[in-house]
Subunit: 177 residues, 2 copies
DNA sequence: CACACCATGTAAGCGGTTACATGATTCC
DNA sequence: GGAATCATGTAACCGCTTACATGGTGTG
């Protein structure tokens, strides 16, 4: 899924909710895994140290001196970097939004950010329409090849999913306005 | 997506259709990309040489001596290795089948392999039912957290997709019997 | 006192991406 | 004759997985 260090933004995103340890982050990844993301400790801890190094997060001073726990919080730079990432698809130069990038961002949006939310839904909806048109074409082609029956089923499945998604986001947008 | 050298099986699968060059394989990957798979030349060519080394594929002797083209065909060992991979989820010890593994296999199944096809559809359908039940639970939990509105939408989307898939495979199985 | 869980890491290896390199053939 | 396409590779890098390593805390 990942291309440009997605884990970094997932961690920053979780830290916008509240301060956490690496262990806490792993718990949340595991719990919310099915919908979007997972990562092992061997990826999380080094990443936290890199984020610390580049001042996107900072250690929370503990009042308990005998704990090994390292609790992290966002710095103001970190907040900004996360927000920039969140809004990146809304840049005018970006004309499409794939499912992974979409879901990753959606995960961190609440009803309070309805502006960004609506724009992302619209962009994703638009991308889906293009993809649906493309798949309709592929479907008409593949039905003339009975030996590719499995592939035909895959296209039908993908089409059904994308149509269902498009309808869901469309209705969501209507709810807001 | 891949865990245990999936590319290897994709190449073998394509070569069950007909003999091909590495260049041909890339073309097909690009054309059928949306549904399942893609790979750059830098991955394909080394993989072909590895497959050649382990005698799963063989060079087709060319009657044109001045071409650089290398056309490959499956060996009998290669055919067997591919079939074993295709049927692996049908092993009694395997009780679930994720979407990636399912789609990858489905892609190479025609109406002539209805036996394997039906079994794979049933296994996938069964896995989906479990995942749907899990997501229903998560949905009731998340609705009490209005700040996680985005996550709620993701769960709704995933639920709709999985229910749609389950219905599609269910109907497919009925068609066959 | 054992077992589960809390808590933080390092090392090796592999699959996949991006960039680089080379040269033939075909079509306008 | 230039551009697109055919055709086959190598090298460097990076993210991710698996395995390994260590030790504290809480509960039955």
């Amino acid at each position: 899924m990942a291309r440009t260090n997605t884990l970094q933004y997932m961690i920053l995103g979780l830290l916008t909710r509240q301060q956490m340890t690496g262990y806490d982050i792993k718990q949340i990844f595991d719990k919310e895994k099915a919908e979007f993301w997972t990562a092992p400790f061997s990826q999380i801890y080094p990443e936290l140290n890199r984020l610390l190094e580049s001042n996107l997060i900072a250690l929370v001073k503990s009042n308990d001196p005998n704990t090994r726990k390292k609790t992290y919080q966002l710095t103001s730079t970190g907040k900004q970097v996360f927000l920039d990432w969140l809004k990146k698809p809304l840049d005018p130069s970006v004309t499409q939004l794939n499912n992974d990038d979409f879901v990753l961002r959606l995960h961190f949006l609440g009803k309070d950010q309805q502006g960004i939310l609506t724009k992302l839904l619209k962009l994703r909806s638009q991308t889906l329409k293009v993809e649906i048109a493309q798949l309709e074409l592929e479907l008409t082609e593949v039905t003339s090849h009975p030996e590719q029956y499995g592939r035909e089923l895959i296209i039908k499945k993908e089409l059904a999913n994308k149509k269902s998604d498009e309808l869901l986001w469309h209705n969501q947008i209507s709810n807001f306005s």
